[in-house]
């Protein structure tokens, strides 16, 4: 499958984190690039969902489903900045 972007994982991320995550700004642990999750690369063709840094291709997030749980690997994110008040995607 083609590379997409983090916007395409909004539903999964919201399920896992309980809030709208595509506007969260991640600092890549590999190269230090700073970008919103919505802008980052999304790969869904292999096992699990992989989000990569658009600058260095370093893996930011891996989410896999095993035996009824989401396994969430965030080793590739050094810092995650969330806009205040950004609780969910819908309207109040």
């Amino acid at each position: 499958m083609d590379e997409l972007d983090g916007n395409g994982a909004a539903g999964l991320l919201q399920e896992v984190f309980g809030m709208e995550m595509t506007v969260a700004v991640a600092t890549c642990a590999s190269c230090g690039a700073v970008a919103p999750i919505g802008e980052s690369g999304l790969y869904t063709g292999g096992p699990g969902t992989v989000i990569r840094c658009r600058s260095c291709d370093g893996v930011l997030v891996v989410i896999t489903q095993v035996r009824g749980i989401h396994c969430v690997d965030l080793m590739g994110i050094r810092q995650l900045d969330m806009p205040l008040g950004n609780m969910a995607a819908g309207r109040a």
């Binding site: 083609d2 972007d5 983090g6 909004a10 539903g11 709208e20 995607a89 819908g90």
Partner: protein
């Protein structure tokens, strides 16, 4: 919702999967359909957001896809779907689904590629192929809310018959400029552009950077990369160039 002090983003946690009912289907092009949905507990959405569709086979295998919502915030929910021949979900949605059928959905989701009236402009919307869908939601949102933000839409497709929402777009007026480019085949007498969107075409058609435009770019990955880089090279502020990439095969 307008005029209240309640922030729209404050709401109550993640959306569950729920069952929607198809209320209408509209053929847009030979490979594209718009599907209107009745969703009992829909909380409202913002222009540019998505919803996820989950199809589950009898053996329990399921596939999920995310689709841009084609409707303005206060309009009934609809998605516009392009058929991908090797897709697991889109052939069903574009060929088999009928009015009255039920569909498992989750949404709205997303918040990055979103325009609200208060975000202002001037707006530059750049679409490649079915990347027009969330941009159409933004156009409708602008119109519904009475916004007078000036808009330019640059829409690239391969052929005339692949242009989605053409009648609606041709009917735009009052501060909305529509610029088409057909990259593969042009009908006789075509007066639009006939080349791929690149920096030169953007320089010719887009708002000058000095007007501090807000840009939304949606299309296949390579298209989006070219346009976003071109706009930044023309002086657009990177933080005001919002992008969304999709995996459709339909080219720009």
């Amino acid at each position: 919702m307008e005029g209240t002090a309640v922030p729209r983003r404050l709401s109550s946690g993640p959306r569950p999967w729920e069952v929607a009912t198809v209320t209408a289907v509209t053929r847009e092009t030979p490979s594209v359909r718009t599907i209107a949905l009745a969703v009992p507990s829909w909380p409202g959405h913002r222009a540019g957001q998505h919803l996820d569709v989950r199809l589950t086979a009898e053996d329990g295998y399921s596939a999920e896809r995310s689709y841009s919502i084609a409707a303005a915030a206060d309009d009934p929910v609809a998605i516009t779907v392009e058929r991908l021949d090797d897709g697991e979900v889109s052939p069903y949605l574009t060929e088999d689904l009928r009015v009255g059928d039920q569909l498992e959905i989750r949404g709205p989701v997303g918040g990055y590629f979103v325009w609200e009236t208060a975000d202002g402009g001037p707006l530059l919307l750049v679409a490649g192929g079915s990347g027009i869908v969330p941009l159409r939601a933004i156009l409708r949102q602008r119109e519904d809310s009475g916004s007078e933000v000036p808009v330019k839409l640059l829409y690239s497709a391969r052929t005339l018959s692949e242009l989605i929402y053409r009648d609606e777009l041709d009917g735009q007026h009052d501060g909305v400029g529509i610029i088409y480019t057909l990259t593969r085949e042009q009908p006789a007498g075509w007066t639009g552009y006939a080349r791929r969107v690149d920096r030169a075409l953007l320089a010719e058609t887009a708002w000058p950077a000095g007007r501090n435009p807000l840009a939304f770019v949606c299309g296949p990955t390579s298209f989006v990369e070219t346009v976003a880089a071109g706009l930044v090279a023309l002086g657009y502020e990177p933080g005001r160039v919002k992008t969304e990439r999709f995996g459709g095969t339909g080219g720009p």
